[in-house]
């Protein structure tokens, strides 16, 4: 059995990461989370823990593209058989796929199955990481070190939700809808503005600044390393509680009311901050709605907007690069001016 990942609920502090990830998990149209911060702050721990606690998805057994049983992808060779009844469905954990730094483009997009081609002459498509991440998460560590052509590719697929492969004499397209999670250390390089905009929410993290938390982190890590299975079991209940929260938020979200006043507030905020395009507003509105759903409210309130504004807008404030104040400070100021201080 594989070593279970460090439980999500056992992470000390780092509430902003946890909240951002949960929101992105509830509504996957929000568009991904960017986590920027120092080394050793538990960025990758959080995302792996989350993937484990997410609700399972239903898919066809052994389907490489995670097709839902009632809506198979056109290019999926397993799901598109004549006798649909012979397909068995199963529940699998939400996929989370790592995009390692050394990865090649063909491994990401998928490529021709060379073995088959060389041995039997069959032209068959070997799906890549994008297919494996469909309906799940794609995690990129050190996202600011990623090569430009890879960045372009990912941006394209993340935007369209479809992966198109035209090479080696194959023409394949398959759905690739995933939540992009990127983490990185801003000291080591900047992120291109186009890439920044792609992420729905962004979080800045630092390691906890009080002694008690730090000690607790070491202790929990130690307990986990000594007995990963037992430790996971101990935190299972809390993890399950989080999962239930996500599930019920997903259901409630559909009925959550977003009033006109809230819409106007969101729009005015984005205009005051000079956020480019509509993506900021959409993201903020969606995030606020999720927050309301998670809190059990029937309609979105100003509290939700205020809470979500930094996460949704902080990385979109590149209007005036020479502006002195930091992103978060500007957002706070704008919120105050609108009476939300």
């Amino acid at each position: 059995m594989q070593k279970p990942p460090f439980p999500f609920s056992a992470i000390v502090g780092q509430d902003s990461i946890k909240r951002a990830l949960m929101i992105a998990a509830v509504d996957n149209t929000i568009g991904g989370v960017l986590i920027l911060g120092d080394r050793g702050t538990g960025k990758s721990t959080a995302i792996r823990g989350l993937a484990r606690l997410l609700p399972k998805i239903e898919t066809v057994r052994s389907c490489r593209y995670h097709c839902p049983p009632d809506a198979p992808a056109t290019s999926c060779q397993i799901c598109n058989v004549l006798d649909k009844k012979s397909l068995k469905s199963e529940q699998i954990a939400t996929p989370i796929v790592d995009l390692p730094l050394g990865v090649t483009e063909d491994r990401v997009c998928g490529m021709i199955d060379i073995e088959k081609a060389l041995t039997t002459g069959e032209k068959s498509f070997e799906p890549g990481l994008l297919a494996s991440a469909h309906r799940g998460f794609l995690y990129i560590d050190e996202v600011n070190l990623l090569e430009d052509h890879m960045v372009d590719l990912l941006l394209d697929v993340a935007a369209s939700g479809i992966n198109i492969v035209e090479r080696d004499g194959m023409s394949i397209r398959h759905p690739a809808r995933f939540v992009l999670v990127g983490s990185g250390n801003p000291e080591e390089g900047d992120l291109r503005p186009q890439m920044l905009d792609r992420f729905g929410l962004s979080v800045d993290v630092t390691s906890p600044d009080n002694v008690k938390d730090r000690i607790e982190i070491v202790r929990r890590r130690d307990a986990y390393e000594q007995d990963p299975v037992g430790f996971s079991k101990k935190w299972q209940r809390k993890d399950t509680a989080e999962r239930k929260k996500i599930e019920s938020a997903r259901e409630r979200m559909v009925d959550t009311i977003v009033s006109d006043e809230i819409m106007e507030l969101v729009t005015r905020l984005c205009m005051a901050l000079g956020v480019d395009g509509l993506r900021g507003e959409l993201t903020l509105m969606r995030a606020a709605r999720v927050e309301a759903a998670l809190a059990g409210r029937e309609s979105v309130s100003t509290v939700d907007v205020r809470l979500m504004a930094p996460m949704a807008l902080r990385h979109r404030l590149r209007r005036d690069p020479l502006e002195e104040a930091s992103g978060t400070a500007r957002i706070d100021r704008a919120l105050e001016e609108l009476g939300l201080g």
Binding site: M1, Q2, K3, D38, R39, G40, T41, G42, S44, D98, P100, L101, G102, V103, D106, R107, M111, I112, I114, E115, A117, L118, T119, T120, G121, K123, L129, D141, E142, L145, E147, D148, H149, D168, G169, N185, E187, E188, G189, D190, P193, T206, S207, D209, N210, V211, K212, R214, I215, I217, V218, R219, R221, D222, E225, Q226, P321, L322, E323, E324
Partner: protein, 581 residues
């Protein structure tokens, strides 16, 4: 030596050892000695100096593929070293990408996408990074340094002082050291030490806690004592840090370490959640710790451990944030792969096997249908694919501005906003900008190289023109800045705004003739070094003075009697884009 024993006991849980050493007998002796601590079946692999990604993560066994027709994966260095140790000589020249790949592997295991390794126990390799840097600013990549627990400085050790075959004492099995108790105040001590040494990362803290326990176990204790803590700090942080000067510091300066369990925290609003007085350690730890000699305490009240202290040390020790390769571009051999083409980029380049096979695969069956080719691969030249690489070099623009009286103040004002525009552009193109002014007796660096737009704007405020013009000094300063930019792997561009008149020479004397001579000398030197230079003529009536200067500099000459922001910006950004290829 103790470090070796600890490393052998801790294995990959400690990450590894960061050794500062010069290659030589001392280093070899330590490595051999360390090896004696290990079991013979533990892998012991040396990393080649400039590894490729395939070397690290593994690749396809080409010969085997050709013979058997089955694609098999060959283990990379990292996989082979799993469960053992990976030695990395010249770690300071490790490229950032490779450092990241290694770090990721250590965290999570084989992620290259080829068969995932599923196992109960993941033991990534322990790393031994040999840091041979001699420059002050050089060090191994930060991400890697963070993952290496132990620190060993062999640079000042004399060979004569080592016994040649120092014995390998047994290590401590994991179960034993994990059962050693470490109390909360011992932990707190470690937190403080880590913060004071400029290591705020949680990983460091985890390593420290493991290390303390290993040390205690080596001494046969089952509880961590203060001496052990100090020793741990010595071995893991490179020294026991001193408290910064705190108000209640009188006797505390000699007893640099705080007392245990008796910490008094003046209420600090930042850290309200921290319990104030005695932190009670675990019951099992009590007997040992309460034995601390009260006389040791003195009145050394610990300076408050608060958030500010922990947060303020994040930037003190960083090493090199990113490993940039030298600015001299070797086309094709280095840099990032950006496209795969069927013609080679360099004449003697090797083909990319996987891409070639993939290009060939659809044709295999067709071409081998006739019996003469059956069972073999019939690859043709049009199937070959080569990886094209491109080195993206970051640029650095250094302005040298002549602020003499003969240059109007408003021109300087124009220049300032030109810089602001350029900064905005540089933000997109990701290059540095800096500004050197010539005024008074010497050149003055007004704006150190920065990509930080806010600090640039701040520093640009209020620089008045007028006065003497030490142009030679300014040029020299520009050259120095260009050199240091090159050293950090950037490509420098000098942009000089001047009217060519100089009246202060390099010595600071107000002698027009020697000033001009000095300018000529420095200009020729700059031309000799070949730094990319643009020379803007800002005199009211552009004459041959600046033209001559520009020729001496080997620079592009541009005449801008009405210096304005847009034109400067355009010219320079064109040059930048040219340089980015």
């Amino acid at each position: 030596m103790l470090t070796a024993r600890i490393a052998a006991s801790g294995g990959a849980h400690l990450g590894g050892v960061h050794i500062l050493a010069h290659p030589g007998p001392v280093l070899t002796s330590w490595l051999d000695g360390f090896r004696r601590h290990l079991l013979p079946e533990n892998p012991w692999i040396r990393l080649p100096v400039r590894p490729s990604t395939e070397a690290l993560l593994g690749s396809v066994d080409v010969m085997d593929a050709f013979q058997s027709g089955v694609i098999r994966h060959v283990e990379g260095v990292l996989e082979r070293a799993s469960g053992g140790w990976l030695i990395m000589p010249m770690a300071e020249s490790l490229e950032t990408r490779n450092a990241s790949i290694i770090s990721q592997f250590m965290d999570e295991g084989d992620q290259s996408g080829s068969e995932a390794i599923e196992s109960d126990v993941f033991t990534g390799p322990g790393l031994i990074a040999i840091d041979e840097s001699s420059d002050e600013g050089e060090s191994i990549p930060g991400g890697l340094a963070d993952r290496l627990g132990l620190r060993l400085d062999l640079r000042d050790v004399l060979y004569s002082s080592i016994e040649p075959d120092w014995p390998a004492l047994p290590g401590i099995p994991e179960k034993v050291w994990r059962s050693v108790q470490i109390g909360d105040d011992a932990m707190e001590q470690l937190v403080v030490y880590a913060a004071l040494s400029g290591h705020p990362s949680m990983r460091k803290l985890i390593h420290l806690s493991h290390g303390a326990r290993i040390l205690a176990a080596l001494q046969g204790d089952d509880v961590v004592t203060e001496d052990v803590i100090r020793l741990t700090a010595q071995l893991f942080l490179g020294g026991v840090p001193e408290w910064p000067n705190a108000p209640e510091e009188e006797e505390a300066s000699s007893e640099a370490q705080t007392s245990k369990g008796e910490n008094q925290h003046p209420p600090s609003p930042v850290d309200a959640s921290h319990p104030s007085e005695n932190i009670q350690s675990d019951a099992s730890a009590t007997p040992e710790e309460k034995n601390v000699d009260p006389s040791q305490d003195k009145a050394s009240t610990a300076p408050p451990i608060d958030a500010h202290l922990l947060a303020s040390n994040t930037r003190s020790k960083r090493g090199r944030a990113s490993g940039k390769s030298k600015a001299g571009v070797t086309a094709g051999r280095r840099g990032q792969i950006y496209v795969s083409r069927s013609v080679p980029q360099l004449p003697d380049q090797k083909p990319d096997i996987m891409a070639t096979l993939r290009a060939y695969a659809p044709w295999h069956h067709l071409r081998t249908r006739s019996s003469e080719h059956a069972g073999r691969l019939a690859i043709r030249s049009e199937d070959f694919r080569y990886q094209w690489r491109r080195q993206r070099v970051e640029q650095s623009v250094i302005f040298v501005v002549d602020a003499s009286g003969s240059t109007a103040l408003e021109r300087y004002g124009e220049t300032k906003s030109a810089i602001e525009q350029l900064l905005a552009e540089c933000y997109i193109q990701r290059c540095n900008v800096s500004l050197i002014g010539c005024k008074g007796l010497q050149a003055e660096c007004l704006l150190p190289p920065t990509r930080s737009l806010t600090s640039a704007k701040r520093k640009l405020g209020g620089y008045p023109g007028g006065g003497a013009t030490p142009l030679a000094s300014g040029l020299l300063a520009g050259l120095a800045a260009a050199r240091s930019a090159e050293r950090t792997g950037l490509m420098p561009h000098l942009v000089i705004l001047t009217d060519g008149r100089s009246n202060i020479d390099l010595e600071g004397a107000a002698n027009r003739k020697s000033a001009q001579d000095d300018v000529t000398k420095v200009a020729r030197h700059i031309a000799f070094t070949g730094v990319s230079t643009i020379c803007f003529d800002v005199s009211r009536r552009p004459g041959k003075r600046v033209r001559e200067l520009s020729a001496q500099l080997g620079a592009d000459y541009r005449s801008l009697p009405h210096v304005n922001a847009a034109s400067i910006s355009t010219v320079v950004s064109q040059r930048l884009q040219g340089g980015a290829r």
